[in-house]
C-alpha cells in the first residue's frame, strides 16, 4: 500500500526484527470516519499498535478566501465550516466582527441567537449520538436521532428559509425576526415533544448491555490529558472537567440563565456520547427560559453598513459550540476586507488526541473513539 512519504516506517522489535503487523487503511471515504478522514491503523491481530490520522481532505482554503471578500461576503463561508451546526460559526464570526467594529446588538437579537444556537446544539448532538450508534452498529438509533434533528431543521426552515446553511446570525443582529408567533409556539411544542425522544434514545442505546460493554472503559481520557491536549466542549466535560464557556466566561446574555453543566466521570466513549445527550435536556431548558424572557424589539442594530470597515486591530472571540470552544481571530488593516481570518476550530483541536488515544484498543474501538469526539471535517480542515 502506498503511504505518503514519512507517514510510516516499519516498526521494529527490540532485537531489530520487524514487527509482524497488518496495516489497515480507513478512509478517506469510509462509512465511519464521519466525513473525509483517513486513519492508518497498524494492527497486531485486532489490537491497534499505532494509529495515524491524516486530515486535510476537505481543506478548502476558507481563510485565504476570506482575505478577498468583504466582511459580509464572508458570512456564507462560515456556514460551510461546521455543516452540522452552522449557527455557531455564524455567531462566532459575527461576535468577532462586532467586537472589531464596535457594533452593539439589540437584546431580542441576542435572545434569538441563543434560541437558535441551543436548537442547533440539539440538532448537532443528535447527529453525534446517532452516529455513535451507527458506528456501534445500531443503525436504528441513528434514524431515531435524525428524526429529532429533522424537527429542528423544519423549525429553522420556517425561520430563515434553509435547512442546513442558515446565514442567520449577521453582524449587528440576526437576518430575520421570527416569522410569526406561531413559530414560537412550534418551538415550545418541539421542546415538549423532544424530551420523550431523548428518553427513548437513552433507554434504547445507553441502557443497552451491549452498548455498555462496547463503550465503557474504552478510549479513557483523563482530565489532565484532556486539558493538556486542548480538548474542549462535551469531550472535555466528559473527562470530569467542569468548564463551560457559557457559564464560566459568559458571552451574549448567557449570564441571565441558570443551567446545569453536564459533567462526566470516566472520560470514556460512553461518557462522551451520553454527555451530549444530557446536554440536550439542558438546551431544551435554556430555550424555554429564553422564550419566556424574550421581548419584542429590533433584531438588527441600526447603524450597520453593508460595507463594514473596522478600525485597525485584532480580535479573537470564542463561544461554546456543540463541539467545544469555537473562536474566530480577525485582523483588520482598516479596509473593507479582513487582513487575516483564522478559525480556531474545536473539532480540529479535539481530534489531535485521537491517534495516541487509540493505541492498545481494538480496531472496533478505534471507530468508536474517533466518532466519540464528534469530528466535522468541514471545521477540522476548513
Amino acid at each position: 500500500m502506498p503511504l505518503e512519504p514519512g507517514a510510516s516506517t516499519v516498526p521494529v522489535n527490540e532485537d531489530g526484527s520487524a514487527v509482524r503487523e497488518t496495516v489497515v487503511n480507513l478512509g478517506p471515504s469510509h462509512p465511519s470516519t464521519h466525513g473525509v478522514c483517513r486513519v492508518i491503523a497498524h494492527l497486531d491481530g485486532e489490537i491497534v499498535t499505532r494509529a495515524e490520522l491524516v486530515i486535510g481532505y476537505l481543506h478548502r482554503g476558507i481563510e485565504k478566501m476570506a482575505e478577498h471578500r468583504t466582511y459580509l461576503q464572508i458570512m456564507p463561508l462560515t456556514d460551510r465550516l461546521d455543516y452540522v451546526g452552522s449557527m455557531y460559526a455564524n455567531w462566532a464570526y459575527c461576535q468577532a466582527v462586532e467586537d472589531l467594529a464596535g457594533i452593539v446588538v439589540p437584546e431580542r437579537a441576542e435572545y434569538l441567537r441563543i434560541i437558535t444556537c441551543e436548537l442547533q446544539r440539539i440538532a448537532s448532538h443528535m447527529m453525534s449520538v446517532g452516529s455513535t450508534g451507527n458506528d456501534a452498529g445500531a443503525t436504528t438509533l441513528f434514524v431515531y436521532a435524525f428524526w429529532v434533528r429533522e424537527q429542528v431543521l423544519t423549525l429553522f426552515e420556517r425561520l430563515c428559509g434553509s435547512r442546513l446553511t442558515y446565514n442567520y446570525v449577521r453582524p449587528g443582529g440576526v437576518s430575520f425576526d421570527t416569522p410569526d408567533d406561531a413559530w414560537i409556539d412550534e418551538v415550545r411544542a418541539f421542546c415538549k415533544a423532544a424530551l420523550p425522544r431523548f428518553n427513548e434514545i437513552d433507554r434504547l442505546f445507553f441502557g443497552n448491555v451491549i452498548t455498555k460493554g462496547r463503550t465503557k472503559g474504552v478510549g479513557v481520557l483523563s482530565a489532565e490529558d484532556a486539558i493538556n491536549a486542548s480538548v474542549t466542549g462535551p469531550s472535555l466535560r466528559a473527562s470530569g472537567v467542569d468548564f463551560d464557556l457559557r457559564r464560566d466566561e459568559p458571552y451574549s446574555l448567557y449570564d441571565r440563565f441558570s443551567f446545569n453543566v453536564v459533567v462526566g466521570e470516566n472520560g470514556d466513549v460512553f461518557d462522551r456520547a451520553r454527555c451530549r445527550l444530557l446536554e440536550c435536556y439542558e438546551s431544551v431548558r435554556l430555550i424555554q427560559l429564553a422564550l419566556d424572557q424574550m421581548e419584542p424589539g429590533r433584531v438588527k442594530a441600526e447603524a450597520v453598513s453593508r460595507l463594514i470597515a473596522p478600525p485597525v486591530g485584532e480580535t479573537y472571540k470564542t463561544l461554546e459550540s456543540a463541539r467545544g470552544t469555537l473562536g474566530v481571530f480577525l485582523a483588520s488593516d482598516g479596509g473593507v476586507r479582513p487582513w487575516r481570518m483564522k478559525v480556531r476550530s474545536p473539532a480540529f483541536s479535539n481530534l489531535g488526541i485521537v491517534g495516541p488515544l487509540c493505541k492498545g484498543y481494538t480496531i472496533s474501538d478505534l471507530i468508536m473513539i474517533l466518532g466519540s469526539f464528534d469530528p466535522v471535517f468541514g471545521e477540522v480542515d476548513r
Partner: protein
C-alpha cells in the same frame, strides 16, 4: 461486461437480432434504472442531506435506492460536497473500483463547479466533472433531498435510452485529473474506499 458487450455485438450483426437486442435493452435498462444502489461519496455539507435522504422523512429505499459502503456493488456514485485536490485521487479511486455499468450524480454546487469555493482558493477542484464523467447535476447549496430524488428519477430516464452494445453503451472517456502542484495525481490516494 465483456460478455454483455459480445452478446450485444453478435446480436446486432445477426439477422433479426436487433429485435432481441432492443427487448433485452428495454428489460435491462428498466431493471437497472429501478435498482440504483448508491455509493455515498459525501465529503462536506451535502452529505448531511444525503444522509437525510435515506432516513425516515424522505426514505429513498422506496425507489430502490439505498446506500452501500463497498464500491464494488453500487451503481451510482453520488458525489456530495467539495472535492479538494487532496481528495480527488481518492474519489477517482472509488470510481474505478465500481463495477460497470456505473453512473455519477454531482450533488450540490461544489461538486458541479466548485460553487462558492470556485474563486480565490488554492485547493478546490472546479467541479467533479474535471476528472469524472457526470450524468446528472443538481444545483443547490446544499440541494434539498427532494432535489436528489428528482436527480435519481432523471437518471432513471437517462438510463432507459441506453444499450448494451459497446458502441452505444455508456463508456466514458476519462479526462485526465488535474495534477496537484508538481507531482502526478494518481497513486497517492487512499487504499480501497
Amino acid at each position: 461486461m465483456a460478455l454483455m458487450d459480445d452478446l450485444g455485438k453478435s446480436l446486432e450483426q445477426s439477422a433479426g437480432g436487433s429485435v432481441i437486442l432492443t427487448s433485452l435493452d428495454a428489460v435491462l435498462d428498466f431493471t437497472r434504472g429501478h435498482s440504483l444502489w448508491s455509493q455515498p461519496m459525501g465529503t462536506a455539507c451535502c452529505a448531511m442531506e444525503l444522509i437525510a435522504a435515506s432516513f425516515s422523512k424522505f426514505d429513498f429505499d422506496r425507489h430502490g435506492v439505498f446506500p452501500r459502503a463497498d464500491p464494488r456493488t453500487v451503481d451510482v456514485m453520488i458525489v456530495a460536497g467539495t472535492i479538494t485536490r487532496k481528495m480527488a485521487p481518492a474519489v477517482l479511486r472509488v470510481w474505478e473500483q465500481m463495477a460497470e455499468p456505473r453512473w455519477c450524480i454531482a450533488m450540490g454546487n461544489c461538486a458541479v463547479s466548485g460553487g462558492i469555493f470556485y474563486h480565490d482558493t488554492y485547493s478546490v477542484m472546479p467541479g467533479v466533472d474535471s476528472f469524472l464523467p457526470v450524468d446528472v447535476y443538481i444545483a443547490g447549496c446544499p440541494p434539498r433531498p427532494e432535489a436528489l430524488q428528482d436527480a435519481v428519477l432523471q437518471l432513471r430516464a437517462k438510463i432507459s435510452n441506453q444499450s448494451i452494445v459497446a458502441g452505444r453503451t455508456y463508456h466514458h472517456k476519462l479526462l485526465l485529473p488535474m495534477p496537484t502542484k508538481g507531482v502526478a495525481v494518481r497513486g497517492t490516494g487512499g487504499e480501497s474506499s
